[in-house]
């Protein structure tokens, strides 16, 4: 029930921001559509609504956004350098990475972060055993532990504090 109320609130805020108008017709349409969405798919938003009440998670999320933006800018400059260099300094390969995160949302955000940060992107996720298969543009090591430390060492702790 709490999950449905949260998804109704989210959908309604999104609707108001997109129409950017406070006429009663727009608001009525938004309420009807948000109720329909909350009735149809509301129960898959979250399984543990009590997580939304812990304030420390929001502070870690704000910190994570800044880390993510900085890493993304660095990654793009690195990628642009590798594309424009005449000798194509790439050494590609698919390596395996071990993670301790288990919940679905944490794994999704971890995979998205890996895709948008320097030189790596996720090919497949094995969520039962906690392995990620990562395509690395410039392979430094094939060992699982060292690759884990280099690729996801920074993000794993913060994501664990946000989602687990």
């Amino acid at each position: 029930m709490k999950s449905r109320a949260l998804s109704f609130l989210l959908a309604f805020v999104f609707w108001v921001a997109l129409t950017w108008s406070l006429d009663w017709q727009y608001l009525l349409t938004g309420v009807i559509i948000s109720l329909f969405i909350a009735w149809a798919v509301g129960d898959i938003l979250t399984r543990n609504p009590w997580k939304f009440k812990q304030h420390a998670r929001y502070i870690w999320a704000v910190y994570y956004i800044w880390v993510f933006i900085w890493e993304m800018v660095k990654g793009n400059i690195d990628g642009a350098y590798r594309i424009l260099h005449p000798g194509l300094p790439i050494k590609p390969g698919i390596v395996k990475v071990k993670t301790n995160l288990r919940s679905d949302s944490a794994l999704t955000y971890l995979a998205n972060t890996i895709t948008l940060t320097p030189g790596t992107f996720t090919v497949d996720v094995d969520s039962e055993n906690g392995y990620l298969y990562v395509h690395w543009m410039n392979v430094e090591t094939e060992d699982i532990d060292k690759a884990t430390e280099i690729i996801i060492g920074k993000y794993e702790k913060i994501l664990g504090k946000i989602f687990e």
């Binding site: 921001a17 594309i83 424009l84 390969g93 395996k96 998205n112 090919v123 298969y133």
Partner: protein, 107 residues
């Protein structure tokens, strides 16, 4: 003044778009192409949308531009992931100078 900042953001975004498309043509195999292009093009388009937001401010256009950039940041990695997994399962081989392929081994 505020227009100039917005134009600078749009210029940076278009530069990264162009570099990403250059990577799409230049790099040797599917995974590397996907790699460079999806990263650079997503960043470039988000830069353009940020420029639109800076120029228009907190009006309906600016808010819509921010939502568009947010949506792009959430969905572009997912589509890249889907394409690469499908390509690997359908039998597209990595470049012959690749160092290792642990995914092929474990499948």
């Amino acid at each position: 003044m505020i227009d100039l900042i917005g134009y600078i953001f749009i210029g940076i975004g278009i530069t990264f778009d162009f570099i990403g498309c250059l990577g799409l043509v230049r790099l040797p195999d599917l995974y590397n192409r996907l790699h460079a292009s999806i990263k650079c093009v997503t960043f470039g388009t988000c830069g353009i949308m940020l420029g639109v937001f800076v120029i228009h401010g907190f009006t309906d256009v600016g808010i819509k531009a921010i939502f568009c950039a947010l949506f792009l940041l959430l969905t572009a990695p997912v589509s890249a992931h889907a394409i690469s997994r499908a390509a690997h399962l359908s039998g597209v081989k990595p470049w012959e100078k690749s160092v290792c392929d642990h995914y092929e081994k474990d499948k």
